[in-house]
Symmetry: C2
Subunit: 207 residues, 2 copies
């Protein structure tokens, strides 16, 4: 049921750039990591695979009632946690290029990939940029001292596409389906609103 | 954006007996009501209408990955909040009889209906009873000094069926789709994990 408390730990953070809740979760988990001194391992997820293909559901923007609730709630949630939020006018983001850029960079430099992921999340959800296209993604390459054209080749590389697919399959294999999901050892916590529970789990070793 | 703080308030609590999260939410909101001294108005919802018919989704027990996550999570969540939890072996509960019993009793005695609802939730989710059938529901009538056969007639009364439908329609009209949902004035908070946010909203008047 529980790991021993007070051991050095890491938290795995499953994300998809298209989710504003994953953005809120990314800022929250990094804050908590500073407070409790643990490492955050960023793990890519594709909600188009898990939610639509595996679970047989629909994207939020296609769901009556929930669509309107979420639109209001994410802004209220960001204010609640004092996280900058300013979304692009486009209803939904297509995250595949951005996710592949992350995987490409993560393979050669995980630290830099994490910094780049934070930049992408921040541009998309706090600075109202639409990063759906490959051009918009590679335009941010220089923010982490990467060459835009090299990044573009990485995004289009079949090996990178396959690597992302494999990582998503591995996430599904362990039961991950939504973003953000936080994994503490074998325990999965789904939702940015579960951070207080993640914190308690880390502090106590579980219950 | 916000109501004035520190005014006497009430919180509307939307529930469906079939949801273990609504059970957790019912205990949590009543605890918070004692702490902050507000009234809880219980409002019936039918997830079979909102989730399946209006939103076009599926019940949790039919969703791969989420089904397994939720099964584990509700028990962990109940322990986290120190709420007794012991589910019936049946995978899902059919709540229509129980919901109609609530509406029938609520029409004549809202206080008693609230007590009865707490009994039903507790029997279903803490004492592993399956309250799917009308017989199981009316068997609990005596716990609130009601006659079982009178309650049975109420459950089968077309006026009560219509009244429940109208109440669910009114919930949908204001944007409610899930259970538990907490309404503070015009602000909706969906999910038992949003109680800390509801608390802050009540304490500050919103943000």
């Amino acid at each position: 049921m529980s790991a021993a408390a007070h051991e050095p730990v890491q938290v795995e953070f499953y994300f998809d750039f298209l989710s504003p809740y994953a953005y809120i979760g990314s800022v929250s988990i990094e804050r908590l990591a500073k407070e409790l001194n643990f490492e955050v391992v960023w793990r890519p997820l594709l909600l188009g695979i898990t939610v639509v293909k595996v679970m047989g559901l629909k994207g939020v923007s296609e769901i009556p009632l929930k669509r309107e609730y979420v639109r209001h709630d994410v802004e209220r949630f960001a204010r609640y946690l004092d996280i900058p939020f300013n979304r692009a006018p486009t209803e939904t983001m297509k995250s595949l290029s951005a996710m592949r850029a992350f995987v490409w960079l993560d393979r050669k430099d995980p630290d830099k990939a994490r910094r780049f992921a934070r930049s992408l999340f921040e541009a998309q959800w706090a600075r109202a940029r639409d990063l759906s296209g490959i051009d918009a993604v590679v335009a941010l390459a220089s923010s982490v001292d990467e060459d835009p054209e090299e990044m573009r080749s990485g995004i289009l590389d079949p090996d990178i596409k396959l690597l992302l697919t494999k990582q998503v399959d591995a996430a599904i294999e362990r039961g991950v389906f939504g973003a953000p999901t936080f994994a503490v050892g074998g325990e999965l916590f789904w939702g940015a609103d579960r951070l207080p529970m993640v914190k308690r789990w880390l502090e106590t070793g579980g219950w």
